[in-house]
């Protein structure tokens, strides 16, 4: 009894003391940095001081001829690697308004389309915060002229936002808002006239936070829900332009059941559809970044496991 008690006590003390010395002079052991939220960006507004120096515009992506800049509190586009610039008639605040607290040095992923044929930006109308509208400002002539269309009004607390066009006429917008804790309202809109008018689709009854979504053709679309502690993928599919939504079925191999939990947007691959499932924010299988690829032969209603995908294969 005595040696055992003394031995265990000594071991505990030794381990605690060693840990204490290991973390000595290491603030990171007691402090972490927030992932994306910065109070600075909410409180400081250099535009109001009138004292800022106009910076020379630099494209966000040097590797592509078509890029943008958010410098000087304005959104500018370039189609020739930064030689010439076109100003977009949107206040930068409107691009980041709503339930978003991330960095504002780059546009929010998927909130814009920027190609040779089309530039389109999802944003809010912040003139009256109580009646916040979701708008799309777009140009099909490289910024010579701009059009603005209303997508949703009112739409408070815009969080998830995604816009994409499948061809020059057919496009979709998926947005969510009114978030409280881990619930929110998600919905999709379709356009068949290049973004001039938008028709709202019905929504699944589930109100968990949306992770991703998209349409693969004019009728077939997907909404992937459940970003907080998901235990299985929740992917809703529509095959009638959003009139009705069904929960897609995943034939998940047993060993992957608690692993691949969030579906990304499916893509068409010939006659089949392919979707990758990631591990969510807490995944730790094989480093946490490996994804699972699933294939559907019935337009997204049921999915069968295909293979594991290394992170660099999906990029």
């Amino acid at each position: 009894m005595k040696p055992l008690l003394l031995g265990i006590s000594g071991l505990m003390i030794t381990i605690l003391t060693i840990i204490s010395f290991i973390v000595y002079q290491k603030p990171a052991f007691f402090m972490t940095s927030p992932f994306e939220i910065d109070i600075t960006e909410r409180t400081a507004d250099p535009a109001d001081t009138g004292e800022q120096v106009q910076e020379e515009l630099q494209p966000v992506d040097y590797n592509e001829p078509i890029s943008y800049s958010l410098q000087n509190n304005k959104l500018h586009l370039t189609y020739d690697s930064g030689e010439d610039w076109t100003e977009v008639p949107i206040e930068t605040d409107q691009l980041f308004a709503g339930d978003y607290n991330g960095p504002e040095q780059e546009l929010i992923d998927n909130s814009y389309v920027l190609t040779e044929d089309r530039a389109a930006f999802l944003h809010t109308d912040t003139v009256n915060p109580e009646q916040e509208r979701v708008m799309l400002t777009y140009s099909t002539d490289k910024g010579e002229t701009w059009e603005e269309s209303e997508i949703a009004s009112p739409f408070p607390g815009l969080r998830f936002r995604k816009v994409d066009f499948l061809d020059d006429q057919l496009g979709y917008v998926i947005i969510s808002g009114s978030r409280t804790m881990s619930q929110e309202y998600s919905t999709a809109f379709l356009t068949e006239d290049g973004g001039e008018t938008w028709q709202q689709t019905n929504s699944p009854e589930e109100t968990r936070l949306i992770a991703d979504g998209g349409f693969v053709d004019e009728s077939t679309g997907f909404l992937s829900l459940g970003t907080i502690s998901p235990e299985a993928p929740t992917l809703y599919v529509t095959q009638d332009k959003g009139e009705s939504w069904q929960l897609a079925e995943f034939n998940m191999p047993e060993e992957y059941e608690p692993v691949f939990v969030i579906a990304e947007t499916p893509v068409r691959d010939g006659e089949q559809l392919t979707v990758t499932l990631n591990q969510g924010p807490n995944g730790d299988y094989a480093g946490g970044l490996v994804k699972g690829e699933f294939i559907s032969d019935d337009n997204g209603e049921t999915w069968n496991f295909s293979k594991e995908v290394e992170p660099d294969e999906t990029e």
Partner: protein, 287 residues
């Protein structure tokens, strides 16, 4: 007989002490795991050393109460424990030069406000508590925040943090931990406060034009563009890039999607100043 009772009592306390020590040891090991996997940290960095010290004391107590040892052995163990506690205190003191933690417990004891500053990088971060003693980084304060901060709990789930930046402008950050709408939908605090409110020497009128506050005979008007909402419980009114007032919803405030105004509900008005000041409770006035 008396001797036996004392031994029985010692045995129970000794076992409890060892169990507490084992529990604290597990918490420390658990901390290593949740820190690396979930980015969680102790809500106050000093807790790490406090837990170590209590663990050492409990082990010492358990050994003394459960084992029959010589006086010399007890002296050695006690001396060792004092030495280890001194080491922990020195390490704590040293880490206090690197990290500064500021914590504040809500009036009902259910929430902990935690702000930490890395004294090397000057990074100051607001943390949200998880499981009582752990927390996760939530928002970063501006880099030019002065050290002094003022914390005032406006309700059991609303804490106002008032601070100054290097250019002496006053800012407010509101930490919110609840909701007044049943947690099912997002709503605008400004819209919910539409109406006339009165308190001691203060009148507040909120309408579609903005918010007008009359305090001690002076009237200030704020457009809605100059308001900033925090969570679904409070807004900060700003003037000239400085915080001027905070308006928060009291516990008896009922958020109503039909915008029905309940006559017996309250809001709290709190001026942004580094001087000592008290929040003012305002009562809704009938239209």
């Amino acid at each position: 007989m008396k001797q036996n009772n004392k031994k029985g009592w010692q045995r129970i306390v000794g076992i409890i002490s060892l169990l507490i020590a084992a529990g604290l040891f597990c918490i420390q090991l658990g901390y290593l795991y949740v820190h690396s996997h979930y980015e969680l940290v102790y809500i106050d960095h000093r807790l790490f050393y406090f837990i170590n010290i209590v663990c050492i004391i409990c082990l010492l107590l358990g050994i003394f109460l459960l084992l029959s040892t010589t006086k010399r052995f007890k002296l050695i163990i006690a001396g060792l424990a004092v030495l280890l506690i001194a080491v922990q205190l020195i390490l704590l003191s040293s880490n206090n030069q690197l990290v500064k933690s500021m914590t504040s417990l809500s009036p009902n004891g259910q929430h902990v406000l935690s702000i930490k500053k890395n004294l090397m990088t000057e990074e100051m971060v607001y943390y949200r508590s998880y499981f009582g003693i752990f927390s996760r980084a939530q928002e970063r304060f501006p880099s030019d925040v002065k050290d002094e901060m003022k914390v005032e709990w406006l309700a059991d789930d609303i804490a106002a943090i008032t601070y100054q930046t290097d250019d002496n402008s006053i800012q407010q950050f509101i930490a919110t931990y609840g909701d007044r709408g049943g947690g099912i939908s997002y709503y605008y605090v400004g819209a919910q406060t539409h109406g006339t409110w009165k308190g001691e020497d203060v009148e507040l009128i909120s309408n579609s034009e903005g918010i007008m506050i009359t305090a001690n005979g002076e009237t200030e008007h704020f457009d809605w563009e100059n308001t900033q909402q925090f969570g679904t419980l409070a807004i900060v009114l700003e003037k000239d890039n400085e915080a001027a007032w905070t308006i928060s919803l009291d516990e008896n405030f009922e958020v109503d999607s039909e915008m029905i105004q309940h006559p017996d509900e309250n809001i709290t008005l709190y001026r942004a100043t580094m001087d000592d000041n008290e929040p003012v409770k305002l009562q809704r006035q009938s239209e």
